[in-house]
């Protein structure tokens, strides 16, 4: 049984279709990465999985008893809201002090529980968000560009932490990432998204797929390649007939 099964999912934002007939499933224990240009519907996909957006068509099935931990994109905490890390992790309720200490330790920041949330550094904050996601002992961890705003060292160490968490807990990871070198080395499976699933497979397969190369290029030609991709959408792995600019359902 897969943890999450997405079937024929279309999502609209107002009149704009951001996702069109996406189908995918996440198996337990695997690391799946979603790559794709800005506005390709990556974040919308995660938001549908957590229930923050409603599908326009199709559905998302969660396996029975599957718990999901969610690490959002960079999060802004208003200066006017005083809150300690421990209190933040306790929300919305039902967490014990032991749960909190354990999650913070797993996230690599065991000493932060009394710190004020608004005074954390970017790297610390991301780890606290990770701890929050881990506290419910999730079967599936969703990461939405969790290393945005971190420097290269910070982001590398964040991904090491994720790897360690997975080894310790065996949870599956579905993440969005811009850092292709990380993606390619750490993922079991890569999904290339651009309003629909362009291509998917092991990193090696995806990296050599023409659709992927068209989106990300092979080095400096990326911007040009992206342009070509939009106008020459000739691959035939999907049955539906539409083009990117007006992804009809």
């Amino acid at each position: 049984m897969s943890l999450v099964q997405i079937e024929d999912l279309s999502v609209r934002y107002g009149a704009r279709t951001v996702l069109s007939r996406v189908s995918l499933s996440i198996q337990s224990g695997e690391i799946v990465t979603i790559v794709g240009p800005n506005g390709s519907g990556k974040t919308s996909l995660l938001r549908v999985i957590i229930g923050a957006m409603k599908p326009f068509q199709g559905h998302v099935k969660r396996g029975s008893g599957v718990t999901i931990g969610y690490v959002p994109q960079k999060l802004h905490i208003d200066e006017t809201l005083p809150i300690t890390v421990a209190r933040f992790l306790k929300l919305p309720g039902g967490r014990t002090a032991t749960d909190i200490d354990q999650a913070l330790t797993q996230a690599g920041v065991p000493d932060l529980s009394k710190a004020q949330l608004s005074q954390l550094s970017g790297g610390q904050f991301q780890r606290v968000l990770l701890a929050r996601a881990l506290i419910g002992k999730p079967d599936l961890l969703l990461l939405d560009e969790a290393t945005q705003g971190l420097d290269q060292r910070g982001s590398a160490s964040f991904y090491q932490q994720i790897d360690q968490v997975r080894q310790n807990t065996g949870c599956a990871v579905l993440m969005i990432s811009h850092e292709l070198h990380v993606v390619m080395s750490a993922s079991d499976r890569v999904i290339c998204l651009n309003g629909h699933v362009c291509c998917e497979g092991t990193p090696a397969v995806v990296a050599s797929a023409p659709e992927y190369r068209a989106l990300f290029g092979t080095g400096t030609g990326g911007a040009l390649a992206l342009y070509r991709h939009e106008h020459d959408h000739g691959h035939d792995h999907d049955k539906h007939t539409h083009n990117h600019t007006e992804a009809a359902e």
Partner: protein
Amino acid sequence: MFDDFMMRAALAGIGVAIAAAPLGCFVVWRRMAYFGDATAHAAILGVALSLAFSMSIFIGTMAVALLMALTVSVLSGRGYAMDTLLGVLAHSALAFGLVAVSFLSGVRIDLMAYLFGDILAVSRGDLLVIWGGAALVVMLTGWRWSALLTSTLNEDLAYASGIDPKREQLALTFALAITVAVAIKVVGVLLIAAMLIIPAAAARPMSRTPEGMAVAAGIIGMLSAVIGLRAAYIFDTPAGPSIVCVAAIAFLTSSVIGSLISAR
């Protein structure tokens, strides 16, 4: 003890301070200050309608405030910048309310009493309404506290925890409407937002937890009400504005002390 008008006034002020404290914190955290203002200004229209249809003023102001708050919630995110939208709605509601009141030729009403409050004229019945409303607001915010706090921090985190932020927003809107209806007699339409925001803002520098901030805001609000009333009595100044002045001085003091401590 309810026979003394000063005592009734003090109890009314304390009641409003209690309702305004937890709600005011959310107004500050969620950057809803203008939202509170718009809802409060709409209340004068509620006063006019209540008098025209001889309804209870509490019900009338609450209904219009609620309608205003819902309108703003629905319209937000539809193309207009929020501050423009609220500026338009708040002042239009106030203007329409004032015009509507002028049509009520048969009834003589003291407009100043609704604009700036008339705390010294609080009756036993008013007290009952104020404390009933305050209790309702405290229960509502207390009941939804964790869910509200989670959705205030981040809507997606709330969804991920199985909370619907839209429903929580509705609870907050409802509490806001009750508070406006309750506070109109005490500080008046123009200064209700002040009772929400100033005590909460004054509480911020001395708080480390959200709950602590709400309690501190309540204490500051209550002290402001009692001291403000006393000052109004001694210096023969209008009561509602005097209360807000004391709260403002509390804010100034706490900000200065707060920045001195953090500079050390």
